[in-house]
Structure formats: structure tokens, C-alpha cells
Amino acid sequence: MPHDRRGDGPPLRLVSREGGSDTHTQPSVARDIDWSILMARAQEGDRAAYHRLLQEITPYLRSLAARRHRDLGDIEDSVQDVLLTVHSIRQTYDPARPFAPWLVAIANRRFIDRLRRQGRTRDREIPLTAKHETFCEPAANLEERTDGRELEGMVNNLPPAQQKAIRLLKLKELSLKDAAAASGMSVTSLKVNTHRALKSLRKMLLDRREP
């Protein structure tokens, strides 16, 4: 569980709770002013300034994301999330105010959103494993069900042509054409044999229940 692992390292925990106030990753005042100016120019449509700003904040965002996420893919995804959010609400930035708190507030929101979404996924979804795959095979399911064995025994009592038809068409669920190719019987005879087989199976099953 990622939660437990995070709890193991007390220094990490301390840092991650504060968000952006740690001195190691907190941008210096000069850099903040720099970013402020770049953002102000980006708001006026200066593409080069905007490109430089996004490039400069990306490593910073990555270091922030690394405190919340373990997986490298998650870190990169959430950095991209933050960049998209910054882009779509760039008009809310006021150049008179410092840039870093604005950015960190947006980033934290996005990281927490992602953690919540992951928590929900973990709670509700189970990944498919090889075990789940094997149960799709009809043989595995016949073994599992108690009725399956009994049905298998009754199918064995049928005449050989009917046995073949019911196995191919009903148990293996082949199409008429495929079953005809596999068995060498004609489509008509497959139909007739299946019909007869179902009829006698029904009779056998009812006889079993009634007495």
C-alpha cells in the first residue's frame, strides 16, 4: 500500500504536508519575480516567454509531484495535468502577486485529485489475472459446477451423432458452419441431431427430478 510506505518515512511526510514551503525546492525570490514577468508577458500573448516559463516550471513541478506520487508515470501525468490547468486558467494570475503560491496551489489541487482518483480505482476495481482467464474455458466451468458433471454423464448416454452435435454447437458454442466443418456432418443433420439431443436431455432431466 502506498499510504503505508509514505508513513514509514517521517522526513518525507513532514515535507509533503507543507506543500511548497520547503527551502530546497522553494524558488528563490529572484526566480519568482522572473516567472511573474514571464507569466505577465504570456498573458499578453508572448509565446516565447510562455514556452520558457513552462519549461522552467516543469522540473519544479516534478519535484513537487515526487513528494505525492511514487510511480514515475504518475509523476509525469500529474505534471502534465498541472500544465494543462495552468494553461486554461492563466487569466486568474495577477502579476502584482508572487507566482509560486499561485502555481503551488494549483499543483496541490491536481495532485490530490489524482490521489483520490487512484484511491477510488483501488477500492472498486480488481485487475484481471491469468486465473480469471482460465475460467472462461468451458471445461473449467463444467468441473466447477456440481450440475456440470451430471450433465456430462447424460450427454455421454446420447447416441454418438447427437453427442457430437450437442458438444460442438451448445457446449463449445461453435457456429453451424464451423461445427459442420469440424464434424464432417451436414448443417441439416447437425440441426436435427441437436434438436433430438435437447429433447432427450430434457426428458432425462425431468425424469430425474420427478420421482
Binding site: 504570456a42 498573458q43 499578453e44 500573448g45 508572448d46 509565446r47 516565447a48 510562455y50 514556452h51 513552462l54 519549461q55 516543469t58 509525469e76 501525468d77 505534471v79 502534465q80 495535468d81 500544465l83 494543462l84 490547468t85 494553461h87 486554461s88 486558467i89 492563466r90 487569466q91 486568474t92 494570475y93 495577477d94 502579476p95 502577486r97 508572487p98 503560491p101 499561485w102 496551489a105 494549483i106 489541487r109 491536481r110
Partner: protein, 223 residues
Amino acid sequence: MIKTPDLIASLAANATPVRRLRPPVMRAACWLLLAAVVLALLAVNQGIRPDLVQRLQEPAFAISMAASLLTGVLATIAAFLVSLPDRSRLWLALPVPALIAWLSNVGYQCLTQWVAIGPNGMSFGEAAPCFATLVLTGLPLSLAMLVMLRYAAPLRPTAATFMGSLAVAAITATALSLFHVIDATVMILMWNFGTAVLFVGLAGVFGQKMFRWVAPRTLYARD
């Protein structure tokens, strides 16, 4: 998945000039101006209640009116402040004193004169015009608030919706007591408190969906 440098390049290529948002207090003032216009139009159309001047002399009525108006104004300012990423969440507490004054005043009136029913008994005749006022005030103000707060969608949708709907509810309640003679205290409670619950509840149910509808486009493209 797109590579981060590619994403940066494509975002930079899309960097059209944007208009900075005005300071939050000024935007709140704009919205309140709209509210004033709506109330004025309603006053022209429906007419102020006949006994308004007389009722304003009564302290209970005047305090209740002032408190609901103040709640509306403060909640508007708080909504616009918390819709910005770098403002403190504590601004949410701004309208709380006025809200407490308003609701406790309404509650106090109910306690002291629980059965203050007029000579003709409790009349529900006002209900339909009251409802019209409710919709005519609440609807345009809610829509305007929704559009003005759309940048909060990726940040604090719940807090911003809650404050916005509280502002609309308080203004609407003020409008109701301006235009309609609601004498029975139960009715006052019902209309004041009911309006607040109605707007906050509606916002809770539909707020997120509506926000997605008006939110800036690039946000949900990857969901």
C-alpha cells in the same frame, strides 16, 4: 501518451492573449450591481410591499433585512476570493457572522411570536407571486455567478459553489421580504431559510455538472 516537452510546445503555440481577471472585490461589486439592477426591475414590475417603511421601523424586521443583505454581499466577496488559487480558504468564514445574525434573528422571531397569525388566519395566497420573485431573482443571478466563477472549476468547485449559492440565496431572501407581505413568522422562516436551503441544495446537486459545462475547455479533454 504525449511527451511533456511536446505538450509544452503545443500549449505555447496556443498561447493566445488573455484578459487578466479584475480584482476579486471589483468583480464581486459588478455582480452585486447586477443584483441591484434585477431587484430594481422587479421593484418596477411588482411594486415594493406597501408597508415597507412602516416595517423598517421595527428593529426585528430591519435587523433581519440588513443581516440577509449583508450575508449576500459578504458571501459574494468570499465566493470571488476563494475562486482564485492563491487566496486563503479562510475567506469562506467571511459571511458567517452575518449569516448567524440573519438566521438567528429569523429563528428568534419564530420563537417569540410563534403564532403571530393575522386576523384572517395564515394566508398562503402570496405563495405563487413569492415563487415568481424567487425564480426571477435567483435564476439570472445564479447563471451570472456560475459563469463568473468558472475558473474555480479545477480548483475549489465545492467551496466556490457553496459561497455563490449562499450569496444568491441571501439576495433572493432580501428580495422576498422587500416585495411580499409575509406576516406569519412560520412563512418568514420558510421563505428565508427555505430559499437558502433550496439554492445551496441545488448547487450541491447540479453545481459540479454545471461547472463542467462552463469550465475552460482544455481541462477535461483528457478525462
